[in-house]
């Protein structure tokens, strides 16, 4: 029977379009929470920019796991830092999310809501006691029950400062600011003495700054943002004073962590947050700065520094849940977190690990001093970033803060608008 051109064209179009139409939507099927059964099968494990520096560590870790559980095979995928969330979202939307995924709490939240993150309270609740309570709770989502990732490593960066710039401004280089009030006083002094040529900070306040200043970020139910209260307005008003006095770098409104780090390297900025890894960079790229480097704790007015949390999530749609849960636990257990911590400046989230002499005994080096100080501060650190605070919300806050600093809006108006925008985005997230 001859086929008409129109029929053939329609069939061809359908052949092309129909298979594709299955893509692009997350499944409503939350998947079973049952991870019992024999630990076996092939699974995929995705990390976040770790292959370049820790290939040997992960190769060894995977080999040990496969040896411990014969019949398992772990395929390791490492994604670059840039666009990591986009890569996960493409995989999640396309149904190709790996079985075990390195995530941060803000990435877990939408995945858990879409039914793609396994509830570990149900599937692996027996491991809960191995982790610090705060770390285990960091992957819980307001409005949902359950915990959606194993806590992995914790981090809390120190604050670096340029002692010679402090000295030139008549400030005591051995007494860096500890609270926001001290920071604002010193920053204004530094800008005044340098005639506006040296700024103290290169970044606008972020949600973590509001948290460390003592501003309530969300209501107690976690259903609406609340950082537009009087304390929040006070913080933004003080930042406006810094901006006007050039104590905040003029390019802070468009700065990224990389660009502000560069400004610190060139001596244009007196203080910058970082990690113990940065010391090596200073030594190599700016030896004169390295000679004058000061290391202090994060600025906080609450007594609690900010803690960044990494987690390892299990895909709720995984066909090999038992192996995936076993591997995610294996990566994050006390022994492996400790050995990973000794390779890089991160801190274990497992109970008791921070009491290891590695985190308590001085050996006279700056690296150890930073490590011990950070480990100490971690014990009562807080993850100030709300898990529901998305990238779009960060942009909304940043833009409103910029309007306040430029004088286009009052700090109160700016924060009201930011909270309104974030609440709208929160509602749209569902």
């Amino acid at each position: 029977m001859p086929i008409s051109r129109r029929t053939f064209a329609a069939a061809a179009a359908a052949c092309v379009l129909l298979p594709l139409s299955a893509c692009g939507s997350g499944s409503d099927d939350g998947g079973s929470s049952d991870a019992s059964g024999k630990v076996e099968g092939d699974i995929t494990f995705q990390t976040w920019n770790l292959r370049a520096n820790f290939k040997d560590y992960f190769d060894g870790l995977i080999a040990d796991f496969e040896k411990k559980y014969p019949g398992t095979k772990v395929r390791w995928i490492d994604q670059p830092a840039e666009g990591y969330a986009d890569k996960i979202s493409a995989d999640a939307a396309g149904g190709t999310l790996p079985d075990v995924v390195n995530v941060s709490p803000d990435l877990v939240a939408p995945l858990a809501k879409a039914g793609l993150a396994l509830d570990l309270d149900k599937a692996a609740g027996q491991y809960r006691k191995e982790y610090l309570d705060g770390a285990w709770a960091s992957h819980q989502i307001p409005g949902m029950t359950g915990t959606y990732a194993f806590p992995w490593y914790l981090n809390t960066g120190p604050l670096f400062y340029n002692k010679s710039l402090f000295k030139e401004a008549g400030l005591d280089p051995d007494q860096p600011p500890k609270t926001y009030d001290e920071l604002f006083t010193d920053a204004l002094e530094l800008a005044k003495k340098s005639d506006g040529k040296v700024a103290t900070l290169a970044n606008v306040p972020t949600i973590e700054d509001f948290g460390r200043y003592g501003v309530p970020l969300m209501n107690s139910e976690g259903t609406a943002f609340a950082f537009n209260d009087s304390k929040g307005v006070e913080l933004l008003t003080k930042y406006k004073q810094l901006y006007d006095a050039k104590a905040l770098d003029p390019q802070a409104l468009t700065a990224t962590p990389e660009s502000s780090g560069k400004k610190f390297l060139t001596g244009a900025v007196a203080m910058n947050p970082g990690s113990a890894l940065d010391l090596g960079n200073f030594k190599k790229q700016a030896p004169s700065l390295y000679k004058n480097i000061g290391i202090t704790d994060q600025i906080t007015s609450t007594g609690h520094v900010n803690m960044y949390v990494m987690g390892v999530m299990v895909n709720a749609q995984s066909k090999k849940k038992a192996a995936s849960v076993a591997f995610a636990h294996y990566v994050t257990d006390a022994q492996h977190q400790m050995s990973f911590a000794k390779k890089v400046a991160i801190f274990p989230s497992t109970a008791g690990s921070l009491d290891d002499p590695y985190f308590t005994d001085e050996d006279g080096t700056d690296e150890t001093r930073v490590r011990i100080a950070a480990a100490k501060s971690l014990k009562n650190a807080v993850n100030y970033t709300p898990v529901l605070f998305s990238e779009q919300m960060k942009t909304a806050l940043r833009n409103e803060v910029a309007k306040a600093l430029q004088g286009k809006e009052s700090p109160k108006e700016a924060l009201d608008n930011a909270v309104k925008a974030c609440d709208t985005l929160l509602q749209q997230q569902g």
């Binding site: 939507s25 468009t254 244009a268 779009q392 942009t395």
Partner: protein, 297 residues
Amino acid sequence: MSSSTVSRVRRQGPLSPWLFAAPGLLIIGAFILYPFVSTLVNAFTDKRTLIPGEFVGLANFRELLHDDMFWIGLRNSTLYVLGVVPALVILPLLLALLVQKNIPGITFFRSAFYTPVVASIVVVGLIWVWLLDERGLVNSLLETIGVGRIGFLSDQWLLLLSAMAVTVWKGLGYYMIIYLAALANVPRELHEAAAVDGAGAVRRFVTVTVPAVRSTMALVGALSSVAAFKVFSEVYLMAGPSGGPAGEDTTLVMLVQRTGTGLTGRVGYASAISVVVFVVTVALMLLVLRADRRAES
């Protein structure tokens, strides 16, 4: 075609041409038609990255009307067209006239002007950011000659102008090549006749060259206006992911990227912005081509 092939094609009837076209159709269908249709459909839904969403009619478009960031994006994309297109229509033509002559060493200059075209936009963006930084080379020079430092990357308007300058700098060589091809087809006799009539270089340019390459100018105008309206990389690299101070340098395509990507991306809303970008670019093309036809007639 051999007679046996012809008879085989005849035997297979109307199916044969489709089989030949099938690979192309598949590629066009999968990578052009499907995303296009999908964008159109999504524009009328509240789809998010991980949630399929439901049909919401014109709600996304209504929301656009009240979205300040959309109007900022539309303003900046329009300003980009107005700032960049005239420069990209005229400057490459003048450049092509300069390098058109076959004199010793001219190949070097042609290559040099073309170099920015082949350079990665990311590298180009980073270099210009370093140059225009508060402590960059340009500001150091300006300070040396007593002008003082200028906030190329911290002022909303200077930032947009700087990005436009980079777009023009990078596009000059590309359009220069198009003009060189057009200029090669301008009859030499016309120039000679005009010269005999006493026309100077400027007059010859206006009365001979410009009319001869007018269609090419329209083509360059159409291509560059579409590219300018869809600008992303230059502004993103120079203004940062937030789109400049308070997002005031955001363009429409940046807004699509910011709104529609990530795990919490609003795919439906971003698709609605994409539809607006599509409609405006088609309108721009038609406008330029219609103006050219009118001038021709």
